[in-house]
Every structure is written in structure tokens, then in C-alpha cells.
């Protein structure tokens, strides 16, 4: 097997010449260098810096990742190319007859391929390095250049070169090899993603690889194991190629050692792959076991911890902790259950100086008492434990799929996820890591009992490793030589966190609240920007705080607030049972290193950007530097006032917009860390009261609804009508809807009281009640008792039905009427609207009369809002008086099947009358229901499953059919989003308030075509006569662009369709009875909103068929409703 290095070097040297002289490589190298320069110009040299660039390892990561994808593809070509060349040219045989071995020859060739890419990598890295030096000076992460080369480039290239050579040798056909490999690369890049925990991601495109400035890579050993898998497989394949190579070996047995080595390396690679999956599987099993254990103990030994004193001593990587707990059992109990991080070993547990019997089961500690403790009977317990915490306990309630979802920075770099950190240099333990014993279990999918939390008096004493500084909640005092620190919060808290690192504080005290930025390195250079407005900073902080307090309608409850710099990988998840993210802790917000991924913390960038904008607008708006800095600081603090932002995603092939929470949204600081409403029967109570009293920010509701087809409330309602509430709250598929479902459920729960006393009054009352009990545990029963005493309505029995699917009502809403009555003193506008509950379920609606601008209102007009109950098949009419006409009436149908769920009735569509008498303001019963139809009128809507029909969709391919079928199966929501630019290849059901419908305002859409697709309304007539036939048009909804254009086209605007046939902007109808038909066209540019007359026809007493086909020049064909109105006395 003796390997002649000299021969390998010779072969590689001359093969390299061939490779680099080939056009293919030249073009790739040029593109790679060009891409590097462009990438560098955009991300490094550009004055508008992405916030992620504060982490200098991002640069080599990004460059190497982009390079790696390119070279993975190109190396396939090159590796297969040299074998193809060998095959084609007899010239190769003059080399085959030389005394070098097969291994030397093949390895030499492959090394040549690897070498040229490695050199190219080096050049690309050098470009990145030089650009970085120019931009950032010497503050770079030099080591990361080597790390990313070793982790990304080397395994990828070795693997792909080995694989492509093997395939080429086996298949003996370059074209087939290329197709297979490129398909493989495509699949790994675009489809496989995190399947089997990124096992198949040989390029490393999706692997979490960001290197934190503070703590380095997340899960480095797993990362190395994964990369070793491909490196070993690659080497194994290369060694296999030695045996597969079509040339007689130098001697009969000379291949045997290579075969053995190939098997060893391949097995090694497979083992690394197996180990990779197994590590995750073991973790999952461990987490599942923890949940199972939790389920067993969820209802055992619940307790409230009144006080918790923690003595923490950091010893290298390890922590040694003593917890002195003052505990009260919630019920009579002989056992108490606590959760403590399973990585910690419990040394001893004692009560009143005596050792206690306890069982340590994974993360649980089950304490057994000799005597049964009475409910509320206090007991002092001391626990001593230590070791290294295990992050597998974190987020037991979060699905593995969710946890494996990528967190991408700059749309390509996978940051990775960590929930806690503990090593000798840096520690971050939030309550989620259960770093101190907390009563009850960590999670249960059988009972919600685990969600309950209570306020506790904490004291945290910390002795950190030398040179490190601890951070926790409360007033911090240190001993003389700063080796021991004590944190004493001024009030009880729901939880405490522990952070230890080489932190430096930057503090300012404003109005007796201390504001601190805890930074670990060079973050402070960003804050230096504000040095010139140092004197103004307190005013800005005060102003922002007041603003926040005004918005929250409550004061900030703590004496300090800190931004604490934490590693970039630190993350947490949205939970159904709380609105708090781990990024927010009492008194502090944990911000990623140097403000990584957060624009608001890149003060230097912002200053540059503002100054640039200022120069641009100099003539209009010339701001001083001070003003600019004030604006920047204002903006930066304001980011906590945004509850979230919009994010688009492609789910099940459909583009949907979702609201992504801002984990730093300020509200938990004001509410959740201050108030706690608990109920053992109803753990959602706290969240519910929070939802009731909080301001709900709905971002972009209208256009989001338009994009998604349904609003999140409507989706939640559809689910609530079908499933148990617990199911909706626990299914990860619907986690985005959980908040909506909860808010709707809460709204409905309190609706009887809202109807009786008014919604705002109810909210004020509950808020006042909870505010009486700051930092205390308040029982939900006491809130309900208070509500009952206040309104006379008991809500307790409603809890019984809480989990059952909601009984949704359906409402038919009448056309509002405005009657102008001139009295002696003024002109009064009487606005009224009638609503009919056409279902068998009782329900509530909220009716608001709104002015767009209050300046439009009369002097004494105030917006009116009322909640009213409507029983099954009952109709109620709401009458109001105004000095000016309200802009619109908004009806929120609460727990209903109405689509849209919120209906805005604009005053331009109201019926107006002159009147002489006013009806008193109030809510009146109406006999006979809401009838928006005229006598002799028949309306057929698209929701009519019997009388409305559609043509079969045009589908030819099996794949399309299969995809459609798959989509149907997955989608709970049949209504789709609507957008002007989308093509609708088949009839698509959408809803919009501009459309016609009883309680579901929907229509089918299709893009124009050859006329073969059609919608048909079959109208059964019982009386012969002359009928006016109308079509319901909603140009406001779907045809904004075309509508604008029509004003510029007085004449019918024509164009050609794809077949060159002349088409118009007409909708083409066929009106048919007894095989006699009339074709009618309607110019949609001239159509009005609502009913449009198609013509008058004489019909017999039989079915009339109105058919709309899809031949038109207009962008979209809408099939909504048809109306036939019989002319008086016609026969």
C-alpha cells in the first residue's frame, strides 16, 4: 500500500495545470472572485451596515458558505471531467503504463481538484480579510477564517469529489453522473433542510454554524461530528475509487489494503452520521421521558415558594448552589415535587436541620415528609446541589420541529439556538433552565397545572469565578474585594435569572431608576456615539419611559432596567400560556451580542444613515447632530413598544403573512412580572386577564387578511368551531393562532358582563382590581367574584364549557339606514343597523359607530361602542343619534362563522332618508329578521351549493393533481388570499367584505383564459314573466389598477389574449332557458360596486341558467352572486 507522496505531488501538480487552464474553472474562479467583491462591497464596505456584521465571524462564515455552494457544484464537473478525459484519450494509457500505483494516480488527481478549490477559498478568504481590515481595522475574528474553512469547505469538497468520482467510475457516464449529483445537491439545498437533524446537509448550508463573539460555536462537538461524517465518507469514497479505477494494479494484492482502508473510513463516516442522529434522538428520548415523568407527577405535591435564598459559588465550569426555600403546599400533602435542572447533582436536602427523604428522578425532586403537611403550612427546606446544567430541560413544551427550525441571519447564516450557557467564562441561566428548584413539574401535556407560577421573595448571593461579574435581579451589593455579590429585589418576583461574565456596566440614573447597559467587550463603542448628548440622555429616557407608561396605562414597577449583552445564539419561543419571552426578564432585556441582528442598537450606522438623509433633505429639514442623536436614541428605545412585525412565509405552497412577535415587547416588564392571576381549574386565567387588560396591537390586519384569505381571528374561529380549545392551544401547527383563539374566547367569556356594563367599564374594573395586588398572587376566583359583585353576573359556570368546541352563531347584517331629522334646535342624524342571528346558537356582537377623523364628528358626538347579545333567530336593531353622520359602522361578530368576521359598513353605501320623527336611541327587537331583498327578487350566491356550480378545473398532469390533493388535505381553511399580481389557474374561493353574501361574503376568482372555465347560477323560477338580471360586482376589492386605468380610456379598452384573439374587458355571460340562450357582455371598467343590470329577459316558470365564462381581457374573473327581479305585472 506504500503511498508515494512524490508521485501524488507530481500527478497533482500537472493535473492542477490542466484544471486551472480549463475554461470551466477560469469562469468559476472569476465568478467566485467577483461574487466575493460584490459580497464584500454590500456587506463589509457599504456604509449601510447590516447589524449582524458586528459579529466579525459572520464575514468568513458568509463568504465560505457562498463559496462552498458554488464549489460543491463546480467540483462535480471537474471531478467527473478528468475521468471522462482519461476515458476518451489513449494518451492516458501512456501514464497508466508508468510504475506509479493506482492510488497515487487517483489521489494525485483528486488532490489537484481539492487543491485548486482550496487555493480559491484562500483567495476569497483573503479578499474578505482585506476588506474587513479596511473597514474594521484589526478587530477581527481571525481564527474563524480557519474554522469555517475546515468546517465548511474541506468536508464538502472531499465528500463531493469522492462521490462524483465513485459515481463516474461506477456509471462510466459523465452526463448521468452530473444529473444525479446536481439533483442531489439541489435536493440537499432546497428540500432536505433539517431532515434527520441536518444529516444530509453535506454542504453545511443549513447547519447552525454562527460563532458567537462571547461563547463561540453552539454545539461545536456535534458540528465537528457532522462534518467528520462527510470528511470520512469522502475519504472512504476516494479510497474506494482506488479499487474501482479501471487500470490494472501494480500487483495482484496491492488493492487489498486500500479496500480495507476504504471500508474503515466509510464505516467511520457512517458511524459519525449515525452518532449525529443518535445524539439528537437520545436528547429527544430524554425530553420525552421528562415529559412522561412530568405527566406522572403533574398533580402531585404542588406548592408555593414564598421565599428563595440562593447561594451560588462558581467553581470553574461548575456551579455549587444552596437554596433556602420557604414553601407552602397548595393542598394537604405528604410529598412535594420540585423541578431542578437534571444536570445538577443534588448533594443534600434538609428541613429544620434534618436530612430529608427525597427521590431524584431526572429533573424532578420528590420530597417525602414523615407527616402530612396541611395546605398552606409553611416548611423551610434547604437544598444543596451543583454541577453543570443540562439544556435539554428547556422548552419541553416546544415541538422538536419548532426547535429545529433555522434561525437565519442575513437570510443565509444559520445562527443556531441555545437556551442557556454555562462554562467557566460565561454563564446565562434563565428560569427556563430551572437553575434553582421550582415547585411543580416543568411541562405536562395532560394537565395545565404546570403553567401556574407564583411570586416569590428572592435573594441571590453569588461568588463568581475570579474576574467575572454576576448579574441578577434586585439591588446589588458586593463585598469589599468584589468577590461576593448579593442581589435583593425590592419586591417578589415570578422568577430570577443568573448571568455571569466579564461584564462592564454603563449606567445612568434617571428619576431614581438605574438604567444600565452590561457589555462584554466592544459593544460600548456604539454607545460612545451619545457622549456628545450625555446631558440630554436623561431627558430622553424620562420621555420614553413616560410614553411607555402612557401606552401601558401603568407605571414601570422596578427600580432598575438593564440591557444585558448575551450570545447571539440565545433564543426562546412563543408560548401559548404566556406572552413573555425569555429575552425579557424582570428588570432586564437580554440583547444579542453587540446588538447582533438588531438595527436599533447599531447607533453608529444609524447616525451615518440619519446624517446622510439629513444632507439629502438639507433644504427642507436640516437637523443638528444633537437632534439626530436624540432621534436615534428615541427610536432605539421605541423598538420595545412594537409588539411585532409582519413576516411572509410559504406554507403548503401558499404565501401567507404572519405577525412575528417582538420578544422585547415591553409589556411583560410592566404587567407579567408584576401581576399574577392564578387558578388551578383554569391555568389560562392569567393570560386571559392579561389579554383583557392589555392593548392588542393588530398589525396590518386588513391587507394581511387580503393576502392570507382569512384573518387570524377568522382562522382561529374556524378551528374553535371544530376542535376542543386545548387541542387548538397545543397543536404546533396552529401556534400562531393561539393568541387569537384565546383573545376571542376571553372576549366571549366576558361578553355577558360587557353587554351589561360596557366593555371599557369592565376592563377598567378588572384592571383596578388587579392593580391593588402588585407582586402578589391573585386568585382568579376573586376576580370573578369582584366582577359578579360589580355587574351582578356570575361567570363561573361558563368555565365548565371552556374546553368544548365553540358554538358559533351566524349573523345577517342589514343595510344601515341614516335618517335626517330636523328638530327645533338642530339637524339630527339617526343611524341604525339591524342584525339577525340566523343560527341556532346564541351569541354576542360588538357594534361600533366610528368617525375616520374626530374632526368630522359633530361637537357633541362621541364614538359609540356596545356589546349586545342576540339569541338564535332573533333580530335586533341598534338606533343611535348624531350631529354628523358617522363614517362607518364596525360590527365585530365575536364567536361567529361570519366571514369576514369584522364588517365595516361605510356610510357611502347606507340608505338615506329624510324623516320627521326620531326613534329613541337604543336596541330594539325586530320581527321578521333582516331582509335585504326586494319583493319578487331571487338571489343566488356562490355559497349556494345546490344552485351554484363551477366547471371542472383544467388539470392534465398527475403531479399537479397530486399536489392539489396534498394541499387540500393539509389545509383547514378553504378560503385563499387574494393579490392583484397572482394568477388563479382554477376557481379560487376568497372572502371580502365587498363581496356579496348572507354571512359569508365570498366569491370565486379565476384568471382570464379561453372561455372553457365557467361559473353557473341556476335560478329556479316559479312564475313566468319579464325579469331584470343583475350581476354583483365588487370592483373596489379586486380591480384597483384597472379601475384607475378606465378613467384614461373612455372607450372600451381592448387587447389581445395569448392566442392572438381580440378580447375585451367585458365579462361574458350566457343566459339560457329551454335551449334558448342570449349572450350578454358587461364592461367591467364601467361596472358599479354592487348589483349591475345585465338585461331584461322573458322567462317561463322553469330554471334559468346564467353562465359566466373566463374569456376576458381583464385581470380577474369573479363569480359572486346573480339576482333576478321580476318586473311588476309582467307575465
Amino acid at each position: 500500500m506504500g503511498l508515494g507522496i512524490t508521485n501524488i505531488i507530481i500527478v497533482s501538480r500537472y493535473e492542477t495545470k490542466l484544471l486551472v487552464r480549463g475554461w470551466f474553472f477560469k469562469v468559476f474562479a472569476f465568478l467566485a472572485l467577483l461574487a466575493s467583491v460584490i459580497l464584500g462591497s454590500i456587506y463589509i464596505l457599504s456604509p449601510n451596515q447590516q447589524p449582524q456584521m458586528v459579529n466579525r465571524s459572520v464575514i468568513p462564515y458568509m463568504f465560505m458558505l457562498v463559496m462552498n455552494v458554488g464549489q460543491a457544484v463546480v467540483s462535480v464537473f471537474l471531478a467527473s471531467e478528468y475521468l471522462k478525459r482519461d476515458k476518451q484519450l489513449d494518451t492516458s494509457e501512456v501514464f497508466y503504463t508508468r510504475p506509479l500505483s493506482n492510488a497515487e494516480y487517483l489521489i494525485g488527481k483528486m488532490w489537484a481538484t481539492l487543491k485548486v478549490f482550496f487555493i480559491l477559498d484562500f483567495v476569497v478568504a483573503l479578499i474578505a480579510l482585506v476588506m474587513s481590515l479596511i473597514k474594521y481595522g484589526f478587530d477581527l475574528d481571525y481564527l474563524s477564517y480557519i474554522w469555517y474553512f475546515l468546517l465548511l469547505s474541506v468536508p464538502t469538497l472531499v465528500f463531493i469529489v469522492g462521490l462524483s468520482t465513485t459515481l463516474m467510475l461506477l456509471l462510466n457516464n459523465q452526463a448521468i453522473t452530473m444529473v444525479i449529483l446536481l439533483a442531489y445537491i439541489g435536493v440537499t439545498l432546497f428540500y432536505i433542510d433539517n431532515v434527520y437533524y441536518y444529516l444530509f446537509d453535506y454542504i453545511g448550508f443549513n447547519l447552525p454554524m454562527l460563532k458567537s463573539v462571547i461563547t463561540g460555536f453552539s454545539g461545536l462537538s456535534r458540528l465537528i461530528n457532522h462534518r467528520m461524517c462527510y470528511l470520512l465518507l469522502g475519504i472512504g469514497l476516494i479510497l474506494t475509487d482506488v479499487s474501482l479505477f479501471h487500470r490494472l494494479a501494480n500487483s495482484r494484492y496491492s488493492l487489498l489494503p486500500w479496500r480495507i482502508a476504504a471500508v474503515v473510513f466509510l464505516l467511520g463516516g457512517l458511524f459519525a452520521g449515525y452518532r449525529h442522529v443518535r445524539l439528537y434522538k437520545v436528547d429527544e428520548r430524554y425530553r420525552a421521558d421528562m415529559v412522561e415523568l412530568d405527566n406522572r407527577y403533574v398533580n402531585v405535591g404542588g406548592a408555593v415558594v414564598d421565599s428563595c435564598m440562593l447561594y451560588i459559588s462558581q467553581e470553574g465550569d461548575s456551579l455549587s448552589i444552596r437554596a433556602d426555600l420557604k414553601v407552602r403546599p397548595k393542598q394537604e400533602a405528604s410529598q412535594l415535587v420540585f423541578t431542578l435542572n437534571p444536570g445538577f447533582n443534588v448533594g443534600s436536602i434538609s428541613a429544620a436541620g434534618h436530612s430529608m427523604k427525597y427521590e431524584r428522578l431526572m429533573h424532578l425532586i420528590i420530597l417525602s415528609f414523615d407527616n402530612t403537611l396541611g395546605a398552606g403550612e409553611p416548611v423551610n427546606i434547604i437544598m444543596e446541589y451543583g454541577g453543570e446544567a443540562d439544556d435539554r430541560i428547556c422548552f419541553l413544551d416546544i415541538s422538536k420541529d419548532k426547535m429545529l427550525e433555522n434561525t437565519k441571519a442575513l437570510s443565509m447564516l444559520n445562527v443556531g439556538k441555545r437556551y442557556m450557557f454555562q462554562d467557566k467564562d460565561y454563564t446565562l441561566l434563565t428560569p427556563e433552565s430551572y437553575w434553582y428548584p421550582r415547585p411543580g413539574v416543568a411541562f405536562s401535556d395532560r394537565s395545565p397545572e404546570w403553567q401556574l407560577s407564583y411570586f416569590t421573595d428572592f435573594v441571590v448571593n453569588v461568588t463568581p469565578n475570579p474576574g467575572l461579574t454576576p448579574i441578577s435581579q434586585g439591588l446589588c451589593t458586593a463585598n469589599a474585594d468584589s468577590t461576593q455579590y448579593t442581589f435583593k429585589p425590592e419586591s417578589s418576583l415570578p422568577s430570577v435569572s443568573l448571568i455571569i461574565g466579564d461584564y462592564t456596566p454603563k449606567s445612568i440614573t434617571v428619576d431614581s431608576t438605574m438604567y444600565t447597559v452590561w457589555e462584554l467587550g466592544s459593544w460600548d463603542d456604539q454607545f460612545e456615539v451619545f457622549d456628545s448628548i450625555r446631558d440630554t440622555v436623561p431627558y430622553i429616557i424620562r420621555d420614553r419611559r413616560r410614553n411607555m407608561e402612557y401606552q401601558a396605562d401603568m407605571e414601570y414597577p422596578f427600580k432598575r432596567f438593564s440591557f444585558v449583552e448575551v450570545p447571539a445564539q440565545f433564543t426562546s419561543y412563543k408560548r401559548v400560556w404566556t406572552s413573555v419571552y425569555e429575552q425579557l426578564q424582570p428588570e432586564m432585556a437580554l440583547v444579542h451580542e453587540r446588538g447582533f441582528d438588531m438595527n436599533v442598537f447599531q447607533f453608529r450606522n444609524m447616525k451615518r444613515s440619519w446624517s446622510g438623509r439629513n444632507n439629502w433633505n438639507r433644504r427642507n429639514n436640516n437637523m443638528s447632530e444633537k437632534e439626530i442623536l436624540v432621534n436615534i436614541l428615541n427610536n432605539s428605545v421605541s423598538f420595545m413598544m412594537q409588539s411585532g412585525n409582519m413576516s411572509g412565509s410559504n406554507r403548503n405552497g401558499q404565501w401567507t403573512m404572519t405577525q412575528v412577535d417582538n420578544p422585547y415587547y415591553y409589556r411583560p416588564l410592566f404587567y407579567n412580572f408584576r401581576y399574577n392571576v392564578y387558578s388551578s381549574d383554569w391555568p389560562m386565567a392569567n393570560r386571559m386577564v392579561e389579554s383583557m387588560t392589555g392593548t392588542n396591537q393588530n398589525l396590518g390586519n386588513d391587507w394581511m387578511r387580503r393576502m392570507n384569505g382569512l384573518s387570524e381571528d377568522e382562522k382561529a374561529l374556524i378551528l374553535m368551531g371544530k376542535y376542543d380549545f386545548d387541542r387548538i392551544m397545543s397543536d404546533p401547527e396552529w401556534e400562531d393562532l393561539a393568541d387569537n383563539a384565546l383573545a376571542l374566547k376571553t372576549q366571549d367569556f366576558f361578553a355577558p358582563v360587557s353587554a351589561a356594563v360596557g366593555f371599557e367599564s369592565l376592563v377598567d374594573s378588572i384592571s383596578a382590581k388587579t392593580r391593588e395586588r402588585e407582586f402578589e398572587n391573585v386568585s382568579f376566583d376573586s376576580i370573578l367574584d369582584w366582577v359578579q359583585s360589580y355587574s351582578g353576573i356570575s361567570l363561573k359556570e361558563k368555565i365548565q364549557a371552556w374546553n368544548q368546541p365553540a358554538r358559533l352563531a351566524c349573523y345577517k347584517i342589514g343595510n344601515p339606514v341614516i335618517t335626517t331629522v330636523t328638530t327645533d334646535t338642530a339637524e339630527i342624524y339617526q343611524a341604525e343597523v339591524a342584525v339577525e342571528n340566523i343560527s341556532d346558537n346564541p351569541g354576542y356582537i360588538n357594534v361600533e359607530f366610528v368617525f375616520y377623523e374626530m374632526e368630522n364628528a359633530g361637537d357633541e358626538d362621541k364614538p359609540k361602542s356596545m356589546v349586545l347579545s342576540i339569541n338564535p333567530h332573533e333580530t335586533r336593531r341598534i338606533v343611535t343619534h348624531w350631529f354628523n353622520t358617522p363614517s362607518y359602522i364596525r360590527i365585530n361578530t365575536m364567536l361567529s362563522s361570519n366571514l369576514p368576521h369584522d364588517v365595516n359598513l361605510n356610510n357611502s353605501d347606507w340608505s338615506t332618508y329624510e324623516g320627521t320623527e326620531l326613534t329613541a336611541e337604543g336596541i330594539y327587537p325586530v320581527r321578521g329578521g333582516v331582509d335585504n331583498t326586494l319583493p319578487g327578487e331571487i338571489i343566488i350566491d356562490n355559497e349556494d351549493s345546490e344552485l351554484f356550480s363551477l366547471s371542472r378545473p383544467l388539470r392534465t398532469g398527475y403531479l399537479s393533481k397530486w399536489i392539489d390533493k396534498a394541499k387540500e388535505k393539509k389545509n383547514e381553511f378553504i378560503y385563499e388570499g387574494f393579490s392583484d399580481w397572482r394568477t388563479y389557474s382554477q376557481w379560487t374561493l376568497v372572502t371580502d367584505q365587498n363581496l356579496y353574501g348572507d354571512y359569508i361574503r365570498s366569491a370565486y376568482l379565476i384568471s382570464p383564459g379561453d372561455g372553457s372555465q365557467y361559473a353557473r347560477w341556476s335560478v329556479p323560477l316559479t312564475v313566468a314573466g319579464v325579469y331584470d338580471v343583475y350581476y354583483y360586482a365588487s370592483p373596489n376589492m379586486y380591480d384597483n389598477n384597472n379601475r384607475n386605468r378606465r378613467w384614461n380610456n373612455n372607450n372600451n379598452w381592448n387587447n389581445n389574449n395569448n392566442n392572438g384573439r381580440r378580447v375585451t374587458n367585458d365579462y361574458n355571460f350566457e343566459i339560457e332557458q329551454f335551449n334558448m340562450s342570449d349572450n350578454v357582455s358587461m364592461n367591467m371598467f364601467r361596472a358599479d360596486e354592487g348589483w349591475n343590470l345585465l338585461g331584461s329577459f322573458r322567462f317561463e316558470a322553469d330554471t334559468v341558467r346564467v353562465t359566466l365564462n373566463n374569456r376576458s381581457g381583464i385581470r380577474i374573473i369573479v363569480a359572486d352572486a346573480i339576482r333576478l327581479v321580476k318586473r311588476d305585472n309582467s307575465r
Partner: protein, 293 residues
């Protein structure tokens, strides 16, 4: 004896027999391997240069077993394949250096000298920096022989080297081979061009359908052919008749008829006179006449 071949047979995977029981002793010097296309020459060559493993038989090359001691055989082997093209992106000198380096000439300065000397020898020094693909056909063939000779092999196998060359290049090429053979090198020249053998080989074998038809010297081959070559003058009708029955190898118009040369054991009934054979006659004799009744 430089190369010894005993009982060599080779079958292709489809069962077709390429070589049948070949027994040859090949001494130093230029050895010609003559035979028509498909006779098995190239298969024999490829087996000799270790590109193929024979199905049966024993081959020793300068004392090394070609099955078990390939590395040793490859050290002393030079090979110029029939269809010799080039990797497009090598220059003449680079290509020769690569070949030299792979043959064990690891010392770069010595290798450089050897390469330059070889380039001088084959007359390519002036074009040493030209890409090999841009050479003329004759130059390419000379570069081919240069790579085969660069490491001074003991055995040189040359497959159909003169095909497609103009007469001048052919002579030049033969001279290069003759020069090499004078340095105690065994050269096996495989060809179907009789002239290549006659002008340069002292020993030869003739292959047909995978079997050795003749083994000896070109002179011996001529001697065996003597008395089997005839010259006669015939009319058109006679010519047509003779052409059906015998191997006619030369026809020259003569008056109203033809002056022809025929290879046959006898020509009864015609006015034929015996004619002194050349190698071409001998080739036809062995291919078509000798073993026929």
C-alpha cells in the same frame, strides 16, 4: 531472451477469442508484429504493456512476470499507443516532463536535462513551449516516441506508429526507432504496413485471427514464400477467371490484357513464370495461401 510469451490466450467477456495459444520469444532489437486489422496485435500489445490481463498463459518481460510484477515491468516499459492524442492544455515540454516524472525521474534538474535532450533528439526542442495540440501529426508522433523513450526503457512497445504519416515523417520515425533499438532496447513494432517491418526489423512474427502464422526473420519469411509467386500476362477474360481463383497482388495494363503477379502454390494451365517474392508477397502468402489446399 527479452520477452517470453508462453501459451498466451485471451478471451473477451462476450466469449470471443482474441488470442489463441501464442508462444513467442522476443529478443533484443526491433521486433515486428505484422498482421491485418483485427488480428489481435493491439490486444497482444496491451497485454504486454500491462493494460490488460491475459486470460491464460505466461509472459515474462526481462525476467519479470507480467501478472505479479507489474510495477517492475512498468519501470522498464515504454509505450506509444496507436491513437495518441494529447491533453489539450499541456505544452510540449510540460507533457514530456510529466511523463518523465511519472517514470521515476524525480530529480528535477536531471529530469530537465533529459527532457531537453530528448526534445533535441526528436527534433521538437524548437517547439517545446507550444501547446501539444498545436503540433503537426508527425511532430505529435515524435512527441509520443519521446515520452516512451524519456526514461530509457528496456522494452518499447509501439503500436501502428506510422499510420497516417507522410513518407518523410515515416522515414524519420523509423530512424528514431532504429536508433533506439541500437541501445540494447527491445522494440516491438506492431503494424499492418509491411514496409515498416522490412525496413527496420530483424525479427518478426505475423498474427492472423489471434494466432501466430509466422515467426522468424523477414528473410526467412521471404524464403518460405519462394516458388509461390507468379508473373503472367493475361487477357481480360483470363484475368477475371484468375482473380476468382487466386490472390492477385499486382495488375499492370499491358496491350490488350494485363501483366499480373499472383501468389499461389501453383498456376496450372497458365503461362506463368516464377517470380522472386518480396515481404508483401510473403504477407499475402501467409495470410491467404499457405494453409489453403
Amino acid at each position: 531472451m527479452s520477452i517470453s510469451i508462453k501459451g498466451l490466450s485471451h478471451y473477451y467477456p462476450n466469449g470471443k477469442r482474441a488470442l489463441t495459444d501464442i508462444n513467442l520469444e522476443i529478443p533484443s532489437g526491433m521486433f515486428g508484429l505484422l498482421g491485418p486489422n483485427g488480428a489481435g496485435k493491439s490486444t497482444l500489445m496491451r497485454i504486454l504493456v500491462t493494460l490488460m490481463e491475459p486470460s491464460e498463459g505466461q509472459i515474462d518481460v526481462c525476467g519479470y512476470d507480467i501478472r505479479t510484477q507489474r510495477k517492475e515491468v512498468r519501470r522498464i516499459l515504454g509505450y506509444l499507443p496507436q491513437d495518441f492524442r494529447f491533453f489539450a492544455k499541456y505544452k510540449v515540454r510540460e507533457f514530456l516532463e510529466y511523463a518523465a516524472a511519472l517514470s521515476g525521474m524525480t530529480n528535477s534538474s536531471e529530469r530537465g536535462k533529459a527532457v531537453d535532450s530528448m526534445l533535441e533528439q526528436v527534433g521538437l526542442y524548437e517547439v517545446r513551449d507550444r501547446y501539444a495540440q498545436n503540433l503537426s501529426g508527425g511532430m505529435k508522433r515524435r512527441l509520443g516516441i519521446a515520452q516512451a523513450l524519456i526514461h530509457k526503457p528496456k522494452v518499447l512497445v509501439v503500436d501502428e506508429p506510422t499510420t497516417g504519416l507522410d513518407p518523410e515523417e515515416r522515414i524519420r520515425f523509423r530512424n528514431l526507432l532504429s536508433e533506439a533499438s541500437s541501445k540494447d532496447t527491445t522494440i516491438i513494432l506492431s503494424t499492418h504496413i509491411v514496409g515498416d517491418i522490412s525496413s527496420s526489423c530483424t525479427e518478426m512474427a505475423m498474427l492472423n485471427q489471434g494466432q501466430v502464422m509466422f515467426r522468424g526473420s523477414p528473410a526467412g519469411m521471404l524464403k518460405e514464400t519462394e516458388g509461390n509467386v507468379w508473373r503472367l500476362k493475361v487477357t481480360n477474360e483470363q484475368y477475371a477467371e484468375i482473380n476468382q481463383k487466386y490472390a492477385v497482388i499486382s495488375t499492370i495494363p499491358h496491350g490488350l490484357g494485363w501483366d499480373i503477379q499472383v501468389v499461389a502454390k501453383s498456376m496450372p494451365g497458365y503461362d506463368a513464370v516464377s517470380y522472386p517474392p518480396n515481404l508483401e508477397h510473403a504477407y499475402v502468402y501467409f495470410m491467404e495461401v499457405k494453409d489453403k489446399d
